[in-house]
């Protein structure tokens, strides 16, 4: 049997274009996830029990079901229920963003647990409003301390994006499926796709680990 990688490399144009889509979708979804994670974190520390229970149910639902099923639910279930025709890209970004939000909330919670109780008391003593304490005192510190984990979360999001190929978003996996169909060389195409994904994720996760080590070096 013989492999012809050169042939595939010469036809990789659409795949590279789709790689940019993958990164773009992941970036938007990750921003949505961070926003949602922050909101969930603040809700979790709310004084109203109903809101705290809502956060619990939300994170249990997201973390208890596969990302693929969530994407299918967003794509097939959401449009008839809310009566709005959202396209596959929007549905996909929303599904991944809502998925990532639950995990980001968990990461931020870890950051929050490192912040001492005294800071809340000091801020209260200074007469700051609760919203001001969150925005000006607590959140900046949390974000700064969890940057490495957020980088890792971004690689996780990139690793979920192939699932969007099921709902016809033209990202790297779907582009490589098209190339497989037109050339019938699955081994070569999939190897190239795997190398592309590996380059993106490995670089990011090494970067995240480096940041982690550095932040451990300078802590205390």
């Amino acid at each position: 049997m013989d492999f012809d990688f050169l042939l595939i490399i010469s036809k990789m144009g659409p795949m590279l274009k789709a790689t940019i889509t993958t990164i773009g979708v992941a970036l938007v979804a990750c921003c949505l996830g961070m926003l949602l994670g922050t909101v969930l974190l603040i809700f979790k520390n709310s004084k109203y029990r109903v809101i705290r229970i809502f956060v619990k149910v939300y994170s249990s639902a997201i973390r208890g079901t596969p990302a693929l099923v969530q994407i299918l639910v967003f794509y097939y279930v959401l449009p008839p229920v809310i009566g709005l025709d959202i396209g596959p890209v929007t549905a996909g970004i929303m599904a991944i963003g809502f998925n990532s939000g639950a995990y980001v909330a968990e990461i931020l919670r870890g950051g929050l647990s490192r912040i001492s109780e005294g800071q809340w008391e000091a801020a209260n003593a200074l007469g700051m409003k609760k919203s001001a304490v969150w925005i000006k005192v607590i959140l900046p510190q949390i974000y700064y301390s969890v940057i490495p984990l957020l980088v890792n979360e971004f690689t996780m999001v990139i690793k979920i994006t192939p699932l969007l190929s099921t709902i016809t978003v033209l990202e790297l996996t779907r582009a490589s499926q098209h190339l497989i169909v037109s050339t019938y060389r699955p081994v070569e195409v999939l190897t190239m796709a795997a190398i592309l994904y590996f380059c993106i994720c490995f670089t990011l996760s090494q970067f995240g680990e480096r940041l982690q080590r550095r932040s451990e070096l300078y802590r205390l």
Binding site: G64, P66, V69, Y76, L163, T173, P186, V187, A194, S205
Partner: protein
């Protein structure tokens, strides 16, 4: 709009079959991946540089390439090498390989958390490598491994949904099938979401129960030693 869960009830046999297949796949894949990881972690921490590099690149490649691409590679590439397997074994193999990479990292983290002095003491007592790993180091890891390990196990159950893409008749595949028959996507996909939630919550509860039980035994041991 109205929902028709009755159409779903007529096809309950299909969904039940898919549910069972998902459980069977996870039931085999999780123990296999733990055993594989137990072997690979010895390579990962060995003094031989070649073995260490091989194990490290195995872990990094598996962890940095999306699971879907891995499945496709195994599914499409194996026939080119003359290996023809049916869906279920391929699913179990893929899932085991995927899980093993994550378990290796957990095991390694656990072994590195054990104080160096214990290794030195075991060597000073003249214990063989595999003997002291088995009798001294691994028993201490159990409590350390269970919380992240159960997370990985739950992740594996969830990732098994991707096997529907290579036509393995597990829960998600059956959901597509039932959806094709009844055209009731809302009901079908919410139902399987609930079913997956039930499996992972059951596993989570089991892990918490084991953790509680382990702690009781640990404290008992401590008292006995004293």
């Amino acid at each position: 709009m109205e929902f028709d869960f009755l159409a779903l009830w007529d096809n309950r046999a299909l969904l039940a079959e898919g549910f069972l297949t998902t459980i069977v796949i996870s039931f085999f894949a999780i123990p296999v991946s733990i055993v594989m990881a137990g072997g690979i972690v010895f390579m990962r921490i060995s003094k031989n540089k070649v073995a260490r590099v091989i194990a490290a690149s195995y872990v990094e490649i598996i962890r940095n390439v999306p699971f879907l691409i891995q499945i496709f590679m195994v599914f499409y590439a194996l026939p080119f090498f003359g290996v023809r397997l049916s869906g279920l074994p391929i699913g179990i193999i893929c899932l085991s390989i995927y899980g093993s990479a994550y378990f290796v990292e957990i095991f390694r983290g656990g072994i590195e958390a054990v104080p160096r002095g214990q290794f030195d003491a075991s060597k000073a007592l003249g214990l063989g490598y595999f003997f002291y790993m088995r009798k001294v180091i691994f028993p201490q890891l159990v409590g350390y491994i269970i919380p992240p390990g159960s997370n990985i196990a739950i992740t594996m159950v969830k990732e098994s949904s991707l096997l529907s893409m290579i036509t393995i008749a597990e829960l998600t595949y059956m959901a597509h099938d039932v959806n094709g028959r009844t055209f009731s996507p809302v009901e079908v996909f919410t139902t399987i979401a609930v079913l997956y939630w039930v499996i992972s919550t059951a596993l989570m509860t089991l892990s918490e129960w084991v953790q509680k039980k382990m702690q009781v035994e640990e404290t008992l041991n401590v008292q006995l030693i004293r």
